[in-house]
């Protein structure tokens, strides 16, 4: 891994951690959501600071280069995150639909009474 790549990794992981912290500080993020990003940025910091960890697993899996493994890990984690967000979004759409219908039905009931 080149010095530049490591520098980028370290910088990116620190920025990621900081932005998560700022969002929490401004009370704009739920802790449940923050947990993923905190763990994710920790992983990035660990890998940036201690690349031997990555080299070890690259050797273990007989992969071509550590970068391949790094990308594989990150893509997989983001894939999992996108998937879980998609599930959550569907649930939220359903909730909004239910709420809208509930309000409209209540309104109709109110008007009926008049």
């Amino acid at each position: 891994m080149s010095i530049l790549f490591r520098a980028i990794l370290i910088a990116a992981s620190v920025i990621a951690t900081c932005s998560v912290m700022i969002k929490i500080r401004r009370a704009k993020m739920q802790i449940e959501d923050a947990v993923f990003w905190v763990l994710f940025s920790f992983l990035l910091i660990i890998l940036a600071l201690f690349p031997p960890v990555l080299f070890f697993f690259t050797g273990l899996l007989k992969m071509q280069s550590p970068a391949n493994l790094l990308f594989l890990i990150i893509i997989f984690l983001l894939f999992a995150k996108v998937f879980s967000m998609s599930v959550k979004l569907s649930r939220q759409e359903e909730m909004i639909k239910t709420l809208t219908q509930e309000i409209a039905l209540e309104k109709e009931k109110e008007e009926e009474k008049k």
Partner: protein
């Protein structure tokens, strides 16, 4: 009007709600209570209506934090001085509400019905988790809570207001830890708890592990960055 509100969040508690609330009304007719039905898909709401229980019926499922916050908003709006979190599954005993209140009157913000003030903690995996959380809270606040995961807690008016109006106020140990760090005073009184009488707990090893990671990370790390801004 009574100045204590018992908040009973209920999600799919058809097996327990009638007994739990019936017992509460019979043994403690002087207490005000409110059931928050968290969008149950079973007969919980029907049972409450049939028995003329006081209930807020949420049209969708918000989860425990959202349901409990609804109860706290109700307490805040209606000017209650104290609010108690009380499970709908029958593991909490209403007889401890009085002693909790007496403790509150000594000037505390949070009183926890604790299983381990004078009793020893048994050595079970569950209690290992409880010990870890205790240690985490001690490390960040310097205060030793013996039973941080007890779900039966009483809150003062000041804390009710925070719960009612702010984000990230789930009735979980990490919120307690944050409150303690910000100067809230907490006390514990010895209490016995019963095993849930019916239905099933949603604590599987996997959810327990996730819960632990979330709570510990939150107490040890995330809460340090939390600001005091309003929603």
């Amino acid at each position: 009007m009574n100045d204590i509100l018992v908040i009973i969040p209920a999600f799919n508690e058809e097996a327990n709600i009638e007994t739990v609330v019936g017992k509460l009304i019979k043994n403690h007719p002087d207490l005000d209570y409110i059931i928050v039905n968290d969008g149950s898909t079973d007969q919980t709401a029907e049972i409450c209506r049939k028995n003329h229980f006081r209930m807020i019926d949420l049209p969708v499922n918000l989860g425990l934090a959202g349901a409990f916050q609804t109860g706290m908003r109700y307490a805040y709006r209606n000017g209650y001085r104290y609010a108690v979190q009380f499970d709908g599954d029958g593991q909490h005993r209403a007889e401890y509400i009085r002693p909790m209140r007496e403790k509150m009157d000594e000037g505390y913000d949070i009183v926890i019905a604790s299983r381990f003030v004078s009793e020893k903690k048994p050595n079970t995996p569950r209690m290992l988790g409880s010990n870890l959380i205790s240690t985490a809270i001690f490390l960040t606040t310097g205060i030793h809570l013996k039973d941080p995961t007890s779900g039966m807690r009483m809150y003062s008016r000041k804390i009710i207001e925070e719960f009612a109006n702010r984000i990230n106020f789930a009735p979980e140990p990490d919120t307690i830890s944050w409150l303690l760090k910000n100067g809230a005073k907490a006390a514990e009184i010895q209490a016995k708890m019963d095993l849930r009488t019916g239905g099933r707990s949603y604590l599987t090893p996997l959810t327990a592990a996730r819960y632990m990671i979330r709570i510990l990370l939150s107490i040890l790390f995330i809460q340090n960055f939390r600001g005091g801004n309003r929603k």
